[in-house]
């Protein structure tokens, strides 16, 4: 009887959701909604904002999406999806014992699916519409207003160039994959012992109260087309997210994605507790071959993640692309050298981890630093994250099974801070836009590395604290309701059988 009732409730809520989606938006005026992204940095992560209504911009021409940019954004979105499924899934999966392979694949794939659905229901609206400095509003609940059936027009999202737009739904789709991968990253920290239902419940809470606010604070702004004259600059700035207003540079999500997820993972590793037999029993990766496949898919897909965050197929996308290639390669080498010095041998797992470390660190920096800066960031990240999974891990004392904090936390922090250094025009960086009315860049003389690094550090600290607190509360709630861990017998048997009734490999 309880199951019947639950099924009916679920079916009804699905119907309501579909009905809401099907609602046509009230006749959208021919306004071009410019969704702008990120901070004054040349091209920080995308955070489109709804442009002021056409009523205000009486002289505004009707903007049409740029085909090249739109095509690039769709390709980038596909690349990021590939990063999660199967990239991240295989990367993580190969690292666990074979009895838990399917559970990791499940947690990644289903988390991604869950977050994607929530994104299109309320996530996009709360992250990327006008609200306050911390969170957006409900203008785009169920994606309403995204197209006007009667007029046959789609709403537009701003890029970083005046007069250039892409369809808003394309932007929303791109950002959906970011939300999804951020949440999927977290599962590595408590792999092999967490309850499946706990994962899904935690993700729903954390996505809503940590990912959405931080994405809004770092990336939301009114778009370049809103900055029509000097008189409106302050007004437009005040509508942007808090961290954006500080001038923090985060091209593709060093804070929003990596530090955010890493802290959640670390808190989870502490609260879920260590695996049974940790420290005594062998818990070797069952397939480093698959881990390497996963890491390679991550690297390839990351070109969509970073270069796509330029929102256009332009010079900054090209810069982000090349930086993503170089920093990663440098980090692979650095990790290999570090490991060879430490233990006498460079390992496959080390090279794969080095690649991910470099990718994480270049994420906030991709379109914000020059090529030389990317090289340095890659090398530093390789060594820093090697320490993160060795020395730091021992210091922290948690069983962060797949080193989520060691790689994404340390890498994200290193990358975010070094972005402040190498954005400097004196150090080969592109600098940032100092005046959005004229799109004028900051001069070398006016750029202060100390000031920018301090801005970056403030954003890093806010992210760590915000994510930490939300994670703590969320895990506690989940523990009190469905419980965090499986029983010891289920853990020994393996989550594949106990949670999913399947085996990954037979014989």
């Amino acid at each position: 009887m309880k199951k019947l009732f639950a099924s009916l409730a679920l079916g009804l809520s699905l119907c309501l959701c579909t009905a809401a989606f099907a609602q046509t938006a009230p006749a959208a005026p021919a306004k071009t909604e410019a969704k702008a992204e990120a901070v004054p940095a040349t091209a920080p992560a995308a955070a489109p904002a709804a442009a002021p209504a056409a009523a205000e911009a009486t002289a505004a021409p009707v903007l049409v999406p740029n085909k090249g940019d739109t095509a690039w954004m769709m390709v980038s979105t596909v690349l990021v999806i590939m990063m999660v499924v199967p990239g991240l899934a295989l990367f993580y999966g190969g690292l666990v014992r074979s009895k838990n392979m399917l559970s990791v694949l499940m947690q990644v794939m289903v988390t991604f699916s869950l977050i994607t659905v929530l994104w299109f229901i309320y996530g996009y609206s709360l992250a990327f519409t006008e609200g306050n400095a911390y969170i957006g509003g409900l203008d785009r609940l169920f994606m309403k207003g995204i197209w006007d059936n009667a007029a046959g027009t789609f709403a537009n999202a701003a890029t970083f160039s005046k007069g250039v737009v892409i369809p808003e739904v394309t932007f929303a789709g791109f950002q959906a994959t970011f939300a999804g991968i951020t949440c999927a990253l977290i599962v590595g920290a408590f792999a092999e012992r967490i309850k499946f239902s706990a994962v899904l419940l935690f993700m729903t809470l954390w996505f809503t109260f940590s990912y959405l606010p931080i994405a809004h604070m770092v990336w939301f702004w009114m778009g370049p087309d809103a900055y029509t004259a000097k008189e409106v600059v302050d007004e437009m700035n005040n509508k942007a997210g808090m961290i954006w207003q500080w001038g923090m540079l985060d091209f593709a999500g060093g804070t929003v994605v990596h530090i955010n997820a890493a802290v959640a993972g670390l808190v989870g590793a502490f609260m879920v507790g260590k695996r049974v037999g940790y420290g005594r029993e062998a818990m070797t990766p069952h397939s480093l071959t698959l881990t390497m496949v996963g890491a390679s898919l991550l690297w390839v897909g990351w070109f969509g993640f970073n270069a796509g965050s330029a929102l256009e197929a332009n010079g900054f996308a090209a810069l982000a692309f090349v930086n993503t290639l170089l920093a990663t390669a440098a980090a692979v080498l650095a990790w290999c050298v570090g490991e060879a010095l430490m233990r006498g041998k460079a390992s496959m797992l080390g090279a794969a981890s080095g690649a991910v470390a470099g990718l994480v660190a270049i994420t906030p920096a991709a379109g914000n630093v020059g090529i030389g800066g990317a090289l340095v960031i890659g090398v530093v990240a390789g060594f820093a994250c090697l320490w993160g999974v060795n020395g730091l891990k021992k210091m922290l004392g948690a069983d962060d099974s797949l080193d989520v904090f060691g790689v994404h936390g340390v890498g994200g922090i290193v990358g975010a801070l070094l972005t402040g250094v190498f954005n400097s025009p004196s150090l080969g960086g592109p600098g940032f836009v100092a005046d959005w009315v004229t799109a004028g860049m900051v001069t070398a003389a006016d750029f202060s590395v100390a000031a920018q690094v301090w801005t970056q550090a403030k954003a890093v600290l806010v992210t760590i604290v915000w994510s930490g607190v939300v994670s703590l509360v969320s895990f506690k709630l989940v523990d009190l309701t469905v419980g965090l861990r499986v029983t010891e017998e289920e853990e020994r048997e393996g989550l594949d059988i106990s949670a999913h009734g399947e085996t990954a490999y037979h014989g």
Partner: protein
């Protein structure tokens, strides 16, 4: 009748099999096993976690032979499996009480 069991290094299997065919042993059973004696294992390192692996891969050969063949079988295995280095393995001989050929139902020496 005796069951001759030998633990040998995996890459020596072909040589041992040929040596046994050479003296007329018509069937053997082979299992992949792991074990250690005096041969040391190795250390594996995964990020910061170090694992000492004592067990080494070995191959176990079992052959049921007639009493008068045992000496020749032991010699054939020794010659085939020997490298002269630690870890070459050991041979065990067990008393075999009964043998049955499933297809025909033959028992005893006729079933060997």
């Amino acid at each position: 009748m005796k069951l001759v069991t030998a633990i040998i290094k995996p890459f020596k299997l072909d040589e041992v099999r040929e040596a046994l065919s050479g003296i007329g042993v018509q069937g053997i059973t082979v299992t992949e096993v792991k074990g250690f004696g005096r041969q040391k294992g190795h250390t594996e390192l995964y990020r910061g976690a170090e694992y000492v692996v004592d067990f080494l891969p070995k191959v176990k050969i079992e052959a049921a032979v007639a009493d008068d063949q045992v000496e020749r079988v032991i010699e054939a295995i020794e010659v085939g499996a020997r490298t002269g280095k630690i870890g070459d393995g050991k041979i065990f001989v067990y008393d075999l009480e009964q043998v049955v050929r499933i297809r025909t139902g033959e028992t005893g020496a006729q079933a060997l």
